[in-house]
Symmetry: C2
């Protein structure tokens, strides 16, 4: 698929907003928006975003559409935000209509993990595939599901919350009283705590700051048995959710992004091993488990692509 | 949706083959085919099936198409069987083409759990819904997944194997070396063994034949605390897989059929309670967990519907 028009993509995070002009697969211009610490009321922040969009259009008069990815629940067809995780005050906001009104451009609003999934599926690691599950691994675990070459929104547009899915019906109780939520095992913080404990059991005291994914990757690459065992355990837990997606949806590929995925083969080798070990051949024979192509820019690119496709439809 | 044409549906089981003529939602004629115990070679059995089809057409000259549901892996677009679980010798058989050749009718071949799901989605408990997961609970656990009003086949046409999905990454090791496979906890046999143990722990000796789902339903209905606890435990295990489907796909409904579902509210009440308790509101507020409309005839009806739709397409 080719995208030869320009669009603005917005990655709306809890503490900062990144905005970029996209042409093809490239961000050709950028404009960050800092969210003040006192969390301005949504109407003020939306005006700031609209001003920034209009400023970018002075440089790029041919911008066709705007896409905004947000960390929370969105009614995708209307672009209305139900609520945002970790961003106070953003409840029931018609963001798409407000942005359209203030800019005169066609706008779309999408969940941020879905936006990243769209970028990988349309232009990234899963380009050309029809059945894909994308995961972002970080403090939490986000997901996007593509089935029959369509993004799966589900009945209330909240599909893809892979971080909440369970790997143990008797496990740790998660944010929604859900036992065994994946992100309560493999989120950055939980991974660090588990690694600290594993080192302690091996007689090595580590402060928690030395148990970041980057530190554990470096240790594993240097051959540290404790770190290698930590990554194997991480991969085994994540493989449970990946295998469950396979039995249910029989995808062609998993695309894995987010901070922890930067560990590369330190993560991907044990992950592929554990997934293959628990699937029958028609599920595993052609399955790809691959790193995301895009990094921090995935959200911006995915939203811009979605905005162009929606404007063209 | 209305189905005013006649088709033949075939439910190909491990020990018997059921064949029915469908008009609308009804089976209007039936013709069982007994599989000899010595498992005839597939070509002979296919000839027997074709003869039976042709015999039914003497009564029903207006039959338009034939659909066959089989217990195993099928390449749905070509109707070629990869292999059948528990039916020796059925490997790499072009069943659709052989049946078409011998009958002159358009034929389709589909996995049997998918056929049951199609019946419930097109004409049964989930009629009119677009996002549905169907499960059949028995010796094993089968499934069918409908997303965006389409049956999900996945990349190799093996999607929907819910019985193999894990409820515990450290759990019992299943048929494919997969830890925590749902059907290794809630299949008929495992349910009976767990119930027998629960009775024993309560000081009551039960033979395994008194721990069938029907017996445990009767005991629970009569107020037996042990039986009630067994059903609650069963529901809690099953709820893990249902909640996982919700986080991933955000469906409108689960349709649950198969022998164990005949327990009705003995199963459905604790099941709804456990699922709701572990989901956030956008996932649980409108979710239906409902019994299948069709019973043993679901496979025949689903295949016939699929055959008519495919012939019309």
């Amino acid at each position: 698929m080719e995208f030869t028009d320009k669009a603005i993509g917005i990655d709306f995070g809890g503490t900062s907003i990144k905005m970029g002009v996209i042409l093809g697969k490239q961000i050709i211009d950028e404009a960050p928006v800092i969210i003040p610490k006192d969390h301005p009321v949504p109407t003020e922040l939306i005006q700031t975003i609209a001003n920034q969009i209009n400023q970018l259009r002075e440089e790029h008069s041919d911008i066709k559409a705007v896409g905004c990815g947000v960390p929370g629940f969105v009614d995708a067809p209307t672009g209305r935000i139900h609520n945002l995780t970790n961003v106070p005050g953003w409840v029931d906001i018609p963001l798409r209509d407000l942005l359209s009104e203030k800019t005169g451009l066609p706008c779309v609003v999408e969940n941020d993990a879905n936006a990243m999934g769209i970028a990988e599926w349309k232009l990234g690691a899963a380009a050309g595939l029809q059945h894909v599950v994308c995961l972002t691994l970080g403090t939490g675990v986000g997901g996007a599901v593509i089935v029959n070459n369509q993004l799966v929104h589900g009945s209330k547009f909240v599909a893809g919350e892979l971080g909440q899915s369970s790997i143990n019906y008797n496990g740790r109780v998660g944010a929604y009283n859900n036992p065994g939520a994946l992100e309560d095992y493999i989120g950055n913080n939980e991974f660090a705590i588990d690694a600290q404990r594993a080192y302690l059991e091996a007689g090595i005291e580590k402060c928690i700051d030395d148990c970041t994914p980057a530190a554990l990757d470096a240790a594993a690459t240097a051959g540290c048995d404790v770190a290698l065992a930590c990554w194997d355990d991480f991969a085994r837990k994540l493989s449970c959710t990946l295998a469950n997606c396979c039995w249910l949806l029989n995808p062609e590929a998993f695309v894995i992004g987010g901070g922890i995925s930067k560990a590369g083969n330190t993560l991907f080798e044990p992950l592929r091993k554990h997934v293959a070990a628990q699937l029958s051949p028609p599920f595993s024979d052609h399955l790809k488990i691959i790193p995301a192509k895009f990094s921090n820019e995935a959200g911006i690119i995915g939203c811009a692509v979605l905005a162009l496709e929606t404007a063209d439809a």
